[in-house]
């Protein structure tokens, strides 16, 4: 019995580590079966009753995808790309703004000060082990800012003895090289991974010859000033002396990209460059009383230099964003209850030529419980968190529940509230036509959802509905000066919809066949705003989105075929202008020349149909047919994490 309790607490520890994304590095072997027993394929360890999807990166190995595209294989998630191939990429979840999605890299919140959404293209895909996508108002678990949901990007664990190297090359001058090696012993492991890549981004596209004339003839153009380059270093390790555990991670990345503008208004001289250095150190101890104590510190520094050439642009803007702090957490397992409480303190600073030098502290305290009933036939998970971010404070709360119906079938539901303090940019940015507004208030979100879940031998599937209310959303409205804009807490909007998710390997005997389908129906409505927009849909929120994929991997070779459908989306709040629906079909194949060590060659064709009219929701053209060839040498799949 004591062993069982110890295991449960250790499970809680593992869950917490997973939340911090540091425990993904090979938790003690005794814990793993407990996880399986207690949380059968539970997708979100930090919020066990949430609507969540975990996307494992290895399933997309060798493919032309970024972190955002991995996340967008989950329902409820929409990519906001600004041209593809190394350009700015953010996410929206359940109709939220990009700034309403809390993005964490190994548990470290990214880009909290500047606002506007985290650029996921800055995270090298090679680092990624999996992406946790949690939908709904998740501030109680992920902190202030998670209005639409949260995305936790978890880097690869340090598993001693594994290694790998991969080179890729393809269309439009796209090349990359990555390498990783992990060493260690019985109680420690250290992973080092490097990555570098670049693209010329000079893809062809079709664009109207007269952009202001409806249905004007299309002309063929080539994307210009669209090159990008990126490099990164990841060092991650763990040390487990006795009942203690020490985990650390350090990440260093740098990137540069040209900014092409849109076809009707190209920006041939614009560019940006930036880097990020982040790190975290965590210590934990399993106490004999059933208590687990954890403590840690994390920090990051980001730089972003942007040049937008006059007269259209405002010249050079330099930005330095830094945050650091520490937290402590206590986990207490008592009977059917798994109780967690913690607190953190941090300081963030944004020093920008556009918005000045500002800093603000964050204090937060939280408590949550995961209460199981009747041999885990049901569970209730309440959570509450108080955040004080500078002068803004608020309460985030979440209540979730799940009940096992019969066999692999269960139901889950949750409701939550979150808030997001205004970013420094929204408060203080003075650049070109943008005015500051230091009087802004926080944004608020409420969400409810429920789903029927199948989790059994056929795979995993869920089908459910959700609703969300976003209030006091910050939008830029016309300011005092002609052509100027000023942020205001002016918008209230609702979103509701359906989410369907199926991942099955039921026919795995047939060449290892796997299938995946996700579908999102999203209906948004502006409830408060300027006359003329009330009752309209939020722009850049397609009503229908679907992702489908089939893959085979019989052993020596394999392949996949996938399709992404994005329905019509409006470009403006009055729903006058729209971007048409798009369908992107991609296919790939690989062959294992050797299995141990693995030598694997692969190829992928993205946008197989070579649709050259593709564009994102902001009018930026997207790459047409793109070929990518990769060669990987490394540990055999059986030895890899």
């Amino acid at each position: 019995m004591r062993l069982e309790r110890a295991r449960r607490v250790f499970f809680a520890l593992a869950v917490t580590w997973s939340r911090l994304a540091l425990g993904a590095g090979e938790p003690p072997s005794v814990v793993l079966p407990e996880q399986v027993i207690r949380l059968p394929r539970s997708p979100a360890p930090q919020d066990p009753t949430a609507a969540a999807t975990v996307v494992e990166a290895w399933r997309f190995e060798g493919e032309l995808k970024g972190v955002a595209e991995l996340a967008a294989t989950a329902p409820g998630v929409a990519i906001r790309s600004y041209g593809g191939l190394g350009q700015l990429t953010t996410l929206s979840i359940r109709g939220s703004n990009a700034g309403g999605v809390r993005v964490l890299l190994d548990g470290i919140p990214l880009d909290t000060a500047a606002g506007g959404g985290v650029d996921l293209s800055t995270i090298p895909l090679h680092w990624v082990d999996h992406v946790e996508v949690v939908r709904g108002a998740e501030g109680a678990y992920y902190g202030a800012g998670a209005l639409g949901g949260a995305v936790n990007v978890v880097t690869r664990p340090a598993v001693a003895g594994t290694w790998g190297a991969e080179v890729t090359g393809g269309s439009f001058g796209t090349v990359s090289g990555v390498g990783d090696v992990a060493v260690g012993g019985e109680r420690w492991a250290l992973l080092t991974a490097v990555t570098a890549g670049s693209t010329q981004g000079d893809f062809p596209y079709l664009t109207p010859s007269s952009p202001s004339v409806p249905d004007s003839p299309l002309v063929l153009e080539t994307s210009r000033n669209a090159a990008a380059a990126q490099g990164g270093l990841l060092v991650k390790g763990r040390w487990t002396p006795g009942l203690d555990r020490l985990d650390g991670v350090a990440q260093l990345s740098w990137g540069w990209r040209q900014l092409p503008g849109v076809p009707a208004s190209p920006t041939p001289s614009d560019w940006q460059r930036g880097g990020r250095a982040s790190g975290a150190l965590r210590w934990s101890r399993l106490l004999s009383s059933g208590l687990t104590l954890e403590a840690g510190a994390a920090g990051r520094v980001e730089t972003l230099d942007v040049f937008t050439a006059p007269p259209g642009g405002s010249g050079a803007t330099d930005q330095r964003d830094a945050a650091g702090g520490g937290e402590a957490r206590l986990t207490w397992e008592a009977g059917p209850s798994l109780f967690t409480a913690g607190a953190l303190g941090s300081l963030e600073r944004l020093d920008s030529t556009a918005s000045g030098d500002h800093r603000r502290p964050t204090w937060a305290a939280w408590a949550s419980d995961d209460f199981t009933i009747g041999k885990e036939a049901a569970r209730i998970s309440p959570a509450v968190r108080v955040d004080a971010v500078g002068p803004y404070s608020g309460v985030s709360a979440k209540l979730g529940a799940s009940a096992r119906l019969s066999g692999p079938w269960s139901l889950r539901a949750s409701a939550g509230r979150s808030f997001r303090p205004p970013s420094f940019s929204e408060l203080y940015l003075v650049q070109g036509p943008f005015e500051p507004n230091p009087d802004l208030g926080p944004e608020v979100a409420w969400s409810v959802d429920g789903a029927a879940v199948y989790d059994g031998p056929l795979g995993r599937a869920s089908a459910g509905g959700f609703g969300a209310l976003y209030d006091d959303l910050i939008v830029y409205e016309p300011g005092r000066v002609p052509g100027s804009f000023k942020p205001q807490n002016a918008l209230r909007a609702s979103s509701a919809g359906l989410e369907l998710e199926i991942l099955t390997a039921a026919a795995r005997d047939l060449w290892g066949l796997q299938g995946q389908l996700s579908y999102t129906f999203l209906a948004t409505e502006i409830l408060r705003g300027v006359p003329g927009v009330v009752g309209k849909e939020l722009p850049q929120r397609p009503r229908n989105r679907a992702y489908a994929r089939v893959s085979v991997d019989p052993g020596v070779a394999g392949g996949h075929l996938e399709a992404q459908y994005v329905g019509l989306q409006y470009l403006d709040s009055r729903n006058i202008h729209s971007a048409p629906a798009s369908l992107i079909v991609s296919a790939g194949a690989f062959a294992r020349i050797l299995r141990s060590p693995e030598v694997r060659i692969g190829a992928e064709v993205k946008t197989l149909l070579d649709d050259r009219t593709l564009q994102d929701g902001f009018g930026y053209p997207l790459p047409s047919r793109t070929l990518l060839v990769s060669l990987r040498v490394g540990s055999s799949p059986e030895n890899r994490p």
Binding site: S216, P266, E435, P436, P478, V481, V533, I576
Partner: protein, 408 residues
């Protein structure tokens, strides 16, 4: 003779005798030795000495009270997304017409009043009836496709039955035939970073101010091509940008307001004018630039009345919080009747930044870019005679009267 016929006769008489041989300007007559607009002067409404009653105003030569007055001027209320009629007082009259996002420029085409909506990239048509201004069919009347994350129609004008809009987001002149079904749209590209703003017409040519590239382009409206680019960048103060904005034609010359701002969009010096010879489509030698004087910063609007080009000025930074932050606000007269423009004494304006400017029956009306007021200006007395709130600010606290157009 009924009052309507009398008004017509009076209007004809006033137009014919707009400028007396003595001093009066177009649209005014001498009453007891004073130049007076019989169309709008409540003390001489329709005839010298015919005073309106208490609380009444004079509109079109007829005394009227409050909502009974036909609009003397219409205002594009940018922040309120509406077009509002105003009496000559000025004061709102009739209900505002809700248009789409960011109404920025007005243009009459026949009996229809059109508005260009900057942010929604649309044109809306309104009609005037005895009951007032109203939407002429469902909005938008014309939707101009967007092609990027921003949309920005900046100016609208009518020429030869066609609507001409400057599309700053694309850098083009958009020509719309509203009679076609669906409305026909043609486009003349004006170059990268053009950011076209105001325009004016001479013959079959359109002169378009390119705020971004510091040029005025000449567009042949028959061939619909750019035939000439006139570089104004050298007319700014040292190290500053000219930023041409609005234009007016007088005789065979085109006058262009230059913001003359530095890299931080603050005034680099006095406001300036460029003078273009419309016969050669080149800068007039030895008169450029015209210095509008120290009382004029960031010149915004221009309108010509009887040989005088009146320029509105006023600057306030993006961070302005009150009208007290406005500097260099004035109406500046420039005598353009001779070979060299002569800048007269500026008429300073307190606590307002007049922008768009029209003369209606010899009375000037200017939209304040800050408060939502319309300023009534007497070009003869050279004074701001009154001002009134026509575009109430929405909750954001600011209100930009983007354009004014005479009532019809």
């Amino acid at each position: 003779m009924n009052s309507r016929a009398a008004a017509v006769l009076l209007l004809a008489a006033s137009l014919a005798a707009c400028k007396s041989e003595v001093v009066c300007t177009t649209g005014q007559v001498l009453c007891d030795g004073q130049c007076t607009s019989l169309q709008s002067d409540a003390s001489s409404c329709g005839a010298c000495g015919r005073s309106c009653g208490a609380g009444e105003s004079c509109s079109g030569g007829l005394c009227c009270q409050g909502d009974q007055c036909p609009p003397a001027v219409y205002a594009a209320c940018f922040n309120g997304n509406a077009v509002q009629g105003s009496t000559g007082v000025p004061a709102p009259v009739g209900a505002p017409v809700a248009v789409e996002t960011g109404p920025i420029s007005l243009a009459w085409r026949g009996s229809s009043l059109w508005v260009a909506n900057s942010i929604s990239n649309t044109l809306d048509r309104m009609s005037v009836s005895p009951s007032g201004l109203s939407a002429d069919g469902p909005f938008p009347t014309v939707s101009v496709p967007v092609s990027g994350p921003f949309s920005d129609l900046e100016f609208l004008a009518e020429w030869n039955g066609l609507l001409h809009a400057s599309n700053a987001a694309v850098g083009s002149l958009v020509i719309v035939d509203p009679d076609a079904a669906p409305p026909g749209i043609a486009e003349v590209p004006l170059g990268d970073f053009a950011f076209p703003q105001g325009m004016a017409f001479a013959g079959n040519k359109a002169y378009v101010a390119l705020n971004g590239s510091g040029e005025v382009v000449v567009v042949d409206l028959t061939a619909r091509t750019v035939t000439k680019r006139i570089d104004l960048s050298s007319l700014a103060s040292a190290g500053a940008s000219a930023l041409p904005s609005r234009l007016a034609v007088a005789g065979d010359r085109v006058y262009v307001t230059l913001w003359n701002l530095d890299a931080s969009f603050s005034p680099a010096g006095h406001g300036r004018l460029a003078v273009i010879d419309a016969t050669t489509d080149s800068l007039v030698p030895s008169v450029n630039p015209v210095d509008l004087g120290g009382s004029c910063l960031n010149p915004a609007g221009i309108a010509v009345l009887d040989g005088t080009a009146w320029v509105t000025c006023g600057f306030f930074p993006y961070t302005a919080t009150s009208a007290a932050d406005i500097t260099g606000a004035a109406f500046v007269p420039v005598d353009v009747s001779g070979p060299a423009p002569v800048v007269g004494a500026a008429v300073p304006v307190e606590l307002a930044a007049p922008g768009s400017l029209v003369f209606c029956n010899c009375t000037g009306f200017a939209g304040d870019r800050f408060s939502g007021d319309v300023l009534r200006f007497d070009p003869v007395a050279r004074t701001v005679t009154s001002r009134g709130l026509v575009c109430p600010p929405p909750s954001t606290g600011s209100s930009f009267v983007a354009d004014v157009a005479c009532g019809r």
